[in-house]
Amino acid sequence: LIYIFLIPDTIGKDTLVKLLPEIKILGEAEANLPPGLADQEIRAFTGKAHIGYYSAKGNLTALLLRDLGSLVEDEFAILRTGNTKEFSFIDLKNKKSRVIGEEGLPLAFTGNPFMMRNDQMGVSKLGKDGAVLWRYEFGKIVTGASIAHERSAFGTLSGEAIVLDGKGLPLYIIDPSAFGLSAKYSCIYGISLSPDGSMLAMLHDLEPQRLTIFNERGSGWGILASTVIKKESPYPRESMFSNDGSQGLFDSGEGLIHFDAEEKEFRHIPLEFENVVPGKSMISPLGDDGFAFLANFKHANNFGLVINGVLRASFPVGTEAATLNVREGEVDIIGEAEIMRLFVDSGIQ
């Protein structure tokens, strides 16, 4: 076992990152998912060229070529099947499948399946069996979405967020300009609902670009905090709340911005992001109040940990690392040919 002690913990304990055996993504891609796939505990992964599943023990159990629209999640997969262009929903748990019959491409937001219309102006929410639960036409191009607590929030190219309830009915339209946050150009670049659905983070507009945290107040929403982004850009950027909703972590284009919901304060974590390829950063909640992230800085693709607003670890992980799979303390970094596995003990009781 390899133990790496990284940055000293400011509260007196150490962040422990233990390297687990890596998983090789090698072999011939299959045409279909193998039968009995879900008989063991499996984890879905999406790499640059491949998608598939690996077991909790670290064995590759299914490997498919990634194409536009193919989607794998832990409990279901949405794939084009047969000779048709249509997508089928494969319920791995109950070993059932059905043709979805909806136009568009499949997406999943925190495990919730949707079909996004090809014009990106409407969605169909799918249930656990792949049946359509509801549809909503926004009339505007959707640029981002976040699902939490029976609510779904969609950011639009026109600069508003539309919050729908669990039945797909509109609850709120949140337009930053209506709160006095005017800008020359309107657009939503990042959106995130807190786990209880009471806070909404939006990275929005250009000239200036702002990160604003809204919170629900009675029958409406108000601004909890807002900050101007110095290095504005027209690319979507990651924004995420922690699992306990007490904190947020956001890509500012030049580093990370941490938000403490209790103190209503932003804190910049300067990392000198290198946006050679914009939108490459990725943030995942870790534990109750921590985050794991991937980002380009210091001339490398880095994995890092932010716990309670403090950068606790960062180290290069190779240029091919593209996405993160986080389950409790286990973090899997998905590369092109291998999945690097880490066990993270934040050291906080």
Partner: protein, 297 residues
């Protein structure tokens, strides 16, 4: 024509010449107007029809340029790990133009630039290429009027298209409360239908006969010499419940009848002999007309 529609139409006329070059329609090979057409016609589910807001532009491989001074508002690239939508959907670039217009370019053949450097002369916003098919690459163009919150038919800003073919009316249906009555060309006698209110559904398309097609544009319904429906596919307003075509309340599925054809409007037919005439024109002015003699009982 409503006051709002009239104002938008005036905007077209005033801005047309200025916008002509701004939208960045380069040396296109072919344009097919999809605006107002039913998008999900091939899918069996009746619940999800919607109307298109784009035109399809087939072009040569190479850079996609917009004139200098345009502001790139949004870039969606499949390699964007930070966004589920960007990583799953085709490439998209939104460019802010003058007069509160936003032009949106999207499609599988469009690779948005990773870093956009602006210049006074022109800006390269992406590359058009097609690695899979031997055919020319294409992209979809949409135009949003952010001031009036409406999608505009992009053909209004396109160079004049050589379109000598008239639209083709394949189906005319009067959909009653319980039953549908179809126009049959071969029927020599008058159609006999009961008195009542009917939704008029049209199965109509502007057939691609040349390199480009100007698209369905103008719908007119004449009953016994009087115009009872006149609608244009010039714009579709956008609000929180979706898209509004032909003046119907959103979503756009309201403009699709239960037979999965365009719902042009509702007409009331009283007892007696009636002559119904349906006239459809494309944007180039080519017109098709179908008369339908009806006995209402």
């Amino acid at each position: 024509m409503s006051k709002k529609t009239f104002l938008i139409f005036c905007l077209f006329i005033v801005s047309f010449s200025a916008l002509f070059g701004q939208l960045g329609i380069p040396d296109f090979k072919r344009i097919i107007v999809l605006f107002g057409q039913i998008a999900s016609k091939d899918y069996p589910t009746k619940g999800n029809p919607y109307l298109e807001t784009s035109i399809l532009v087939e072009s040569s491989p190479g850079p996609l340029r917009v004139p200098g001074g345009s502001k790139v508002l949004y870039v969606q690239h499949i390699d964007t790990a930070s966004s589920v939508i960007a990583a799953s959907m085709p490439g998209m670039i939104a460019v802010s133009q003058e007069d509160n217009l936003v032009s949106i370019y999207s499609g599988n053949d469009l690779i948005p630039s990773q870093n956009i450097s602006y210049s006074d002369a022109e800006t390269i916003i992406g590359i058009l290429g097609n690695k899979v098919r031997a055919a020319s690459p294409y992209y979809f163009l949409r135009v949003y009027d952010s001031k009036n919150k409406a999608w505009l038919n992009p053909v209004l800003f396109a160079p004049s298209l050589e379109d000598r073919g008239s639209p083709q009316i394949d189906e005319i249906i009067l959909q009653g409360k319980d039953k549908a009555y179809r126009y049959q060309k071969s029927l020599k006698n008058r159609s006999r239908i009961p008195q009542g209110r009917y939704i008029l559904e049209l199965g109509v398309e502007d057939i691609v006969r040349t390199n480009s097609v100007s698209g369905l544009y103008h719908f007119r319904v004449i009953l016994d010499g009087s115009v009872i429906i006149e609608k244009k596919l010039d714009s579709a307003s956008a609000n929180e419940r979706g898209l509004s075509f032909f003046g119907f309340t959103p979503p756009s599925s309201k403009a699709v009848g239960i037979n999965n054809f365009l719902n042009v409007g509702e007409i009331s037919l009283l007892r007696g002999l009636h002559n119904l005439e349906i006239i459809v024109a494309d944007y180039a002015g080519n017109t098709t007309s179908v008369p339908w003699s009806i006995t209402v009982e």
